[in-house]
Amino acid sequence: MPIVPKDRLERFRALRAKLDPAGDPVDAGSFYIDSPNAVSSRIAAELELAPASSHLLVGGVGSGKTTELLAIERRMAAIDDVATFYIDVSKRHDIAKMMPGAVVAQVGLSLAEQLEKTGPTSPSIQAARDVAFGSWQAPDPYDEDDGGELYRVPGILTPPDQVAENVQRARFPLEGLLHMVRLRVRHIVVILDGLDRIADLQAFDQLVHHDVMTLTSLGVGVVLVGPLRALYGLDRVLVQRFDSFHYQPWIDVSKNRAGRDFLSTVLTTRAADAFDPPAIDPLVAGSGGVLRDLLSLAQSALVESYMNGADRVGSHEVDDAIEAFGRKHLQGVRPAELEVLQRVRTSGVFVQTSEDDLALLMTRRVLEYRTDKQPRYAVHPTTDLLLNELAR
């Protein structure tokens, strides 16, 4: 086992931490750079003008949706009469088991927790908790059929199944909490993250229909992240439930100069010391314009440099990182999918006709770009060479 000087190890760890793609995006706030035509600018501007408006944001895995949501939160913090709450609805609950009312309940819970920190007490705070997690209720004294014993009312986050009743139950304490917030600020915006990982579009539609509509009817502005698959099966009714629809694309680094410069700046802003200048372009190209993959590749290349005894990431380390990523990225690909990937690689032709085709987009094995009017398809650049070898 090689012995390494401790300060060298600490330097590399510190650089790697700055390139962390899996860390809490909240921590990355100081590194935030506006991307060209940033979705956050657009949505924040619309919310400034219409704080009770609703917005659906859709984008691929790793495209930086959460980062943009947090940028919206930061922008809105500058507006005096708006309180903004970022809520990851997948953090406390399995979104596959989410029933209508669950999003309203989580908004209530989040407001209750924030209000509790700042002091004021209200029955609505406990009521929000009871609605979310369940409570013991006393029997109805006027009901002769009631057994006279305390009984358990299940929480909406441990799902019962009465849809309309759930939404009403969740709405009740939320109204009280909103009233308390509005004593201090006029407008309330909630930013709802995590629903992009929901696979069942109908369940997503139900949540939008019941929960988003409830929030907007209470005058709350809503920004909601939706699943990428919604883009391919999205019917007009679902989109029309929102005031506006936004797409967070992957960046076409081969066609979009401004996008390429943006990704280079992401790296140099976070850890300029880590890279030899010639290493940056190949990292950006290898990422396929997927922000999270850019950071992952940069981190892997940095680890390679450390293992190789180098001081900075050079082209050799980038090549190693790209190959390792590409090999991982092809795991689980079936023969029929391999044929599709080879067709996309050689001709750019991709016709999404089946769930398996859609899965290639969901897993970023095929990337779709919308820089021009026509969508352009490519395989993930890290797999390009490997696919070429497999085709021989």
Binding site: A17, A22, K91, V303, K328
Partner: protein, 202 residues
């Protein structure tokens, strides 16, 4: 069947050194191991990690399913956690994908799993997979495991060549109707049915 452009092989010692560099951040890695060797490799990775980071806190857990992993990670503040995920099914990976935010852990989480289970992860947990980046490596197989893997690859080639299953070939040999091509003889030997290589067999 999935297409394998094999993941890079890395010895446990080098893998542990690599993991030690990931400390101090939220990092996720996977180590793919032959099913028969997974128990020994779990111990080996832990020992190597203790050697390169003697003062680091390390835990090894074997959650029965994805939900239990979510609960255990939420309850643990141990810096490096080695997770035995060999038994994780498609459903477990799908749960972990949906609950990815709840998996956030300040430290290094290493999934030690089989290539098959990892393929399931790659197909059913794109969000979780995106956290792994390129930190995925294969444990070099022992001689025995390498021979078994070689045997399985050759059998797969023979099945594709003849469009027959192992059971069909054995049945044909029993019935004395197996073609006399040498590939069928090799097939029977690989299946451990050398006794069927009689005068009437290939």
């Amino acid at each position: 069947m999935t297409v394998v452009a094999g993941v890079e092989t890395m010895a446990a010692g080098e893998f542990a050194l690599r993991l030690s560099m990931l400390r101090g951040t939220a990092a996720y890695a996977a180590y793919l191991v032959d099913t028969r060797e997974i128990e020994a490799v779990l111990v080996e990775v832990e020992e190597e990690l203790r050697e390169v980071a003697p003062h680091g806190a390390i835990a090894r857990i074997s959650p029965r399913d994805g939900m239990q992993l979510v609960d255990e990670l939420a309850a643990s503040s141990t810096e490096t956690i080695i997770v035995d995920t060999r038994s994780f099914s498609v459903d477990d990976w799908a749960v972990l994908d949906r609950r990815r935010s709840a998996l956030a852990h300040r430290g290094v989480v290493v999934f030690v799993t089989t290539p098959t289970s990892f393929s399931d992860l790659m197909r059913n947990a794109p969000n979780l997979a995106s956290w792994l980046g390129g930190e995925v490596f294969t444990h070099p197989p022992s001689n025995e495991a390498a021979a078994a893997a070689l045997r399985e690859r050759r059998l797969a080639t023979l099945r594709a060549w003849a469009s027959k299953t192992d059971a069909e070939v054995v049945a044909d040999a029993h019935a004395g109707v197996l073609p006399r091509d040498p590939e069928y003889a090799e097939w029977l030997v690989l299946l451990g049915h050398s006794e069927l290589l009689g005068p009437g067999a290939p």
